[in-house]
Structures are given as structure tokens and as C-alpha cells.
Symmetry: C2
Subunit: 156 residues, 2 copies
């Protein structure tokens, strides 16, 4: 799992699309204007998103982009993986010969953590984000985003 500014741009653009695409397609020019991302960079990002069927483009006047599927079916992990392709970090991949030493133990731990982070982001959908924010707006008091955040968060 990799979370760079590129992934953020993609998530931000997809959020914009989820919010503004309710009735009719949204043009990249609009997203560019709304989010302050250059048009050409958006084109690159959407080429990747299109490849994973996360968005669907319609050409011509009145055209633009739709979400490729329902916002509830698109996870944050989906978006990030589409633009920020997965790089295998541990060279051994678990199967090579850094046999049993401290190196492979560390790699195993990293792999497990990596999987956990991925699952975490795979469990948050675009729909979740939008819905939670609406809930907040209607006067909810608890932090509606706290799925896991609990006590021991003195870490900073």
C-alpha cells in the first residue's frame, strides 16, 4: 500500500465526482477548477481510474465523467491502487531465501501491517465518506469518522 499525494489527488477528484455527479456527468475542467488540480494531470489520473472501471467518460458537449459504479462499491483502496500502483516492498516476497532470519521476520511483520492498512482503506468507501459528512451536518455530536480511533491516541 502506498499513500502519496498522487493518491490524494485521485481520492479528492473521486470525492468531487461522487458529490457533484448526482445528476449528470462532471467535466474534468470543473474538477480542475473546483479542486485546483491541473487539467492534464487529471487526465492522467482519470486514464488510470478508467482502466480500473472506477469512472466512465462521455465525450462531446454535455459530456464528462460518471462514477464507474456506485459510490458504495468504490473503496479508497481501489482508488489509490488504480493510480499509485502497488510496489512489492520486500524483495523476498516471503518465498525467497532470507530464510528464517531476522530479515524475514521483519518482512513478515511489515507484510502483515501492510495488509492491515490495505484492509482498513478497503473498508472505507466513497459513499461512506459522503454519508458520514452529511450525518455530521445534520447535527451529530460524535465524530462520525471514528471507526477505530479509541483511547490510546497520545501518539503524535
Amino acid at each position: 500500500m502506498r499513500l502519496s499525494t498522487k493518491g490524494r489527488y485521485a481520492v479528492t477528484a473521486m470525492l468531487d465526482l461522487a458529490i457533484n455527479g448526482k445528476n449528470g456527468p462532471v467535466t474534468l475542467a470543473e474538477i480542475s477548477e473546483n479542486q485546483g488540480i491541473s487539467l492534464s494531470y487529471l487526465e492522467q489520473l482519470f486514464a488510470a481510474l478508467r482502466g480500473k472501471d472506477l469512472v466512465r467518460g462521455v465525450r462531446g458537449p454535455g459530456g464528462g465523467y460518471y462514477l464507474g459504479k456506485s459510490a458504495d462499491e468504490i473503496s479508497i483502496a481501489n482508488i489509490i491502487c488504480a493510480v499509485d500502483e502497488w510496489v512489492e516492498f520486500t524483495r523476498c516476497g516471503g518465498r525467497q531465501n532470507c530464510s528464517g532470519g531476522a530479515r524475514c521476520l521483519t518482512h513478515t511483520l511489515w507484510d502483515d501491517l501492510s495488509t492491515e492498512i490495505f484492509n482498513f482503506l478497503a473498508n472505507i468507501t466513497l459513499g461512506d465518506l459522503v454519508k458520514r459528512n452529511l450525518g455530521k451536518k445534520t447535527g451529530q455530536e460524535d465524530n462520525p469518522l471514528s471507526v477505530v480511533a479509541d483511547s490510546r491516541s497520545e501518539a503524535a
Copy 2:
């Protein structure tokens, strides 16, 4: 929150330190050997980790590095933030004049998600990772890393 290969190197190195530093300091040369990371790059990473008191160096023969505090007090977020400094993504920061439009709504959503990811990683310590792995080794059947991973993980 930013999660790059640099952060991974740092987490991996810190894991190595947590595992091998039980009795005596660990040299960067050992970590370099164990994890396949160049010595000089480790020096750069550890300079940042030292700055945040996450590690403590001892010079001279028999020297090396200790964890700066207990493994249970060092979160993954701590490590990543030390080496991969926090970049504010949304230019408006919530306070500027992208007043109420779709742009700021999206930014708010992104900020909330970002906070959620941070809290998630802030709740996982080096100690957790090591302990969970030991639990796994003693023949535990459940995935000991599944803190949040539950049902709806058809996303990929």
C-alpha cells in the same frame, strides 16, 4: 499522512531494532545487512528518528542504537511522521476562502479521512507488531492482525 517507501524503510528498520535490540545496541551496519538498506540511507533515516527521540545512539566500539522509548510507546504513525514529514494537502487548510463550495466540502472529507488513517496507524505500536507475531508463532489460528478487518472486504 503519507505512506511512501521511505516510511516503510523506517518502519522496517525500527522493527529490526525492536526485535534485535533486546540485549544491547544494534549497529546500523547490522540493520543494513539484515534488511538490505544502504548504510548511508539508514544514517539519514536515523538522523530523523533521533530528532524525534525514537532512537538513541551510542558511539564507539560496542555501540549502536537503542529504541528511544519502549516499543509499546512507539506507534507506526510516530515513525512515518518522523521521516516522511507531514505535508498539508489542502491549500485552504479549512480556514481559507474556498468558502462552503464543493471544493471545501471535498477538502473536509479528505481531512477527516486523513485523520482517520493517522489515528489508525497511531494505534498500532512496534510492540503490538512484535507481540502479535509471537502469538502467531505459538500456534494461534485467528489472524492476530485483524483489528478492524471484518466482513465487507470484497473491495480490492
